[in-house]
């Protein structure tokens, strides 16, 4: 059993950095941007002491291409940024996908579009789950809702990236990055190392050259790489979905929320339950693959759903697709760096309850 003194008090951003080091990452490339700069600051302090490499690149674009280079050698590698910086990395994300390279990319989101602000947001959901860059590709997208999960999902993110030879994106927000909570680092479990026969580690004159490349001028060959990649995506959809259910057993109303929105929603649900409203929550932990199964199941049980988001309504589309629009889904949101209050979510729950006659 762990005692409280085994825990450390960490910012979410620091937890990401330390967990990455625990997971065996010794290469970090980044460029400062609020609200994720502590990841870089922590790496700058720690990496030189453990024989790792911290490098502040001249830009986000340079950093993601350094990630491409290290990933080609099969070493665990990471970069982090916040929304505008992730847009800059878009080209690199596409090239990583086209070359089937594993990497961990962290996005501690802030309000947008454009330079936007520095306060928390979840408005990069589409970018992360639909179009991180050009071409047909996916990233595994993990959404932590506590500082402990920031650490756990960082480790998990490296393991998944290696297992499926692709990018994992840790999609957090400014709140998650900046808040401080106790973390049990000794509870982190790192998966067994994955063989990487494709890595460019030197032939030692014993094998053919490995070539890392995303250029395929022969359309038939390019089509084949896309087909193979999407077969892999199918395996991931079947095996790697993660979610948490909260008070869903008897629920008439289901909230869909991830990250900070899920924490706020939990408080609102507890309040609504006191009034006898049967409301629960499905919290996606993988945003891609989206947890379709629990939502499909819930669609036959609940009479209404509410998507609570720090965006103008992005995940709500996945909720509607997963439930095949069998139940009405309403949006409860704030944007631009604002966070929905528990009272606002409670109001949405009451409105939904009144419509379905679920309150008593």
């Amino acid at each position: 059993m762990i005692t409280v003194s085994d825990k450390v008090l960490m910012k979410g951003n620091e937890a990401i950095a330390e967990a990455a080091i625990i997971a065996g990452c010794r290469h970090y490339f980044g460029y400062p941007i609020t609200p994720q700069t502590e990841v870089a600051a922590y790496m700058a302090k720690r990496m030189p002491k453990i024989g790792g490499c911290f490098l502040q690149a001249e830009s986000e674009i340079a950093a993601i291409n350094m990630v491409y280079g290290v990933a080609s050698t099969g070493k665990r590698v990471m970069t982090s940024s916040s929304s505008p910086g992730i847009s800059l990395k878009g080209e690199g994300l596409s090239y990583l996908a086209g070359s089937d390279l594993p990497a961990l990319v962290v996005n501690v989101q802030r309000g947008g579009p454009g330079l936007g602000g520095i306060q928390p947001s979840q408005s990069d959901y589409f970018q992360a789950t639909r179009a991180g860059g050009h071409g047909d590709f996916k990233m595994i997208v993990l959404a932590p809702a506590s500082v402990q999960e920031m650490a756990e999902l960082t480790v998990k993110g490296f393991d998944l990236a290696d297992k499926y030879r692709m990018t994992t994106m840790l999609l957090a927000d400014g709140t998650m990055g900046q808040m401080m909570e106790p973390v049990a680092l000794n509870e982190l479990k790192v998966g067994a190392p994955v063989e990487k026969p494709w890595a460019t580690t030197g032939t030692k004159l014993e094998r053919e050259h490995n070539i890392v490349n995303s250029l395929f001028l022969d359309p038939a060959a390019l089509e084949q790489t896309n087909f193979e990649r999407f077969d892999r995506y199918k395996t991931i959809e079947e095996n790697e979905t993660m979610y948490e259910e909260y008070l869903m057993d008897d629920a008439d109303i289901a909230i869909a929320a991830f990250g900070i929105a899920a924490r706020v929603s939990k408080n609102a649900i507890d309040e609504a339950r006191k009034d006898g409203i049967k409301v629960g929550m499905i919290r996606p932990i993988t945003l891609w693959p989206f947890p379709v199964v629990p939502f499909r199941k819930a669609a036959d049980q609940v009479k209404a759903m509410i998507s609570v988001e720090l965006s103008m309504g992005q995940m709500i589309e996945d909720v509607r697709l997963a439930t095949e629009c069998k139940v009405p889904v309403t949006l409860c949101n704030r944007v631009g760096g604002m966070i929905p209050s528990p009272e606002q979510v409670l109001e949405s729950i009451r409105t939904a309850a009144a419509k379905i006659g679920g309150a008593n």
Binding site: V4, K7, V8, L9, T34, A41, I118, Q178, E181, P182
Partner: protein, 239 residues
């Protein structure tokens, strides 16, 4: 400028039973990033306000734009505490700028000041401008805020290394230690008890005393009389 000297003792602040130790005119709070400097600064200012008519908090944090004492300006005004902070904080030109009225800290000799310095050696660089004046006046304390639960200051030696960097950057030697060891909401008496020998070791390595051990006010009664110089802290929501 609002005249904060006309405020009487703010309502809702209970008198401390045991009188607080004496503080110099200027109290500087420095420490590792995230050690809890701002929270200690605000609580200390509130405690000083009970004794002195004119108290100010100076926010010299040029490192982190995410948490600003300016967010709580109204709260400070209610307490009759003057806030010295950059006019640009929380605006579109939130540059690492120092406050325009920063020299009030050294020029206004009737003012009791708590200076909240940014984290690490980079934060302490901001002291450069006023350090000579503070040293000349000789009515200051330079306190190191330490937290054994923070990942990069878990051992006394690591902590001392960070503090030495801060001293070198700020140009003012430390004179005392504030043991602010805490695990956020999971802080219990054991966390504080366990930290006592850590703080004493830092104290011995630096040859400066532990001037106070801060504890959340909820567990203050459990520790009262068991640890010297206990200081009850109220957690600020967003500072």
């Amino acid at each position: 400028m609002k005249d904060f000297t006309r405020f009487s003792r703010p309502a809702g602040i209970a008198k401390q039973k045991k009188p607080m130790r004496d503080f110099k005119r200027i109290t500087l709070l420095c420490g590792h990033y995230g050690s809890g400097k701002t929270n200690v600064a605000v609580n200390l200012a509130v405690a000083l306000r009970e004794r002195y008519p004119r108290v100010a908090v100076a926010d010299l944090d040029i490192v982190n734009p995410y948490f600003r004492s300016k967010d709580s300006r109204g709260q400070f005004e209610d307490l009759g505490i003057r806030l010295i902070c950059s006019e640009y904080a929380n605006t579109n030109v939130d540059l690492p700028a120092l406050p325009q009225d920063m020299y009030a800290v050294t020029d206004d000799k009737d003012l009791r000041v708590v200076i909240d310095v940014g984290g690490d050696d980079r934060g302490a660089l901001a002291l450069g401008r006023i350090a000579p004046r503070i040293l000349e006046e000789k009515d200051y304390e330079m306190l190191a805020v330490i937290n054994a639960s923070r990942p990069l200051t878990r051992t006394p030696q690591d902590t001392v290394d960070v503090l030495r960097e801060i001293e070198a950057a700020g140009g003012i030697p430390f004179t005392g230690i504030v043991n602010n060891t805490n695990l956020g909401r999971e802080t219990d008496p054991d966390v504080i008890f366990d930290s006592v020998s850590y703080a004493e070791t830092v104290s011995n390595l630096m040859s400066i005393p532990v001037v106070m051990t801060s504890v959340p006010k909820e567990i203050f009664p459990k520790l009262q009389g068991k640890i010297e110089n206990l200081f009850p802290l109220e957690l600020q929501k967003k500072l």
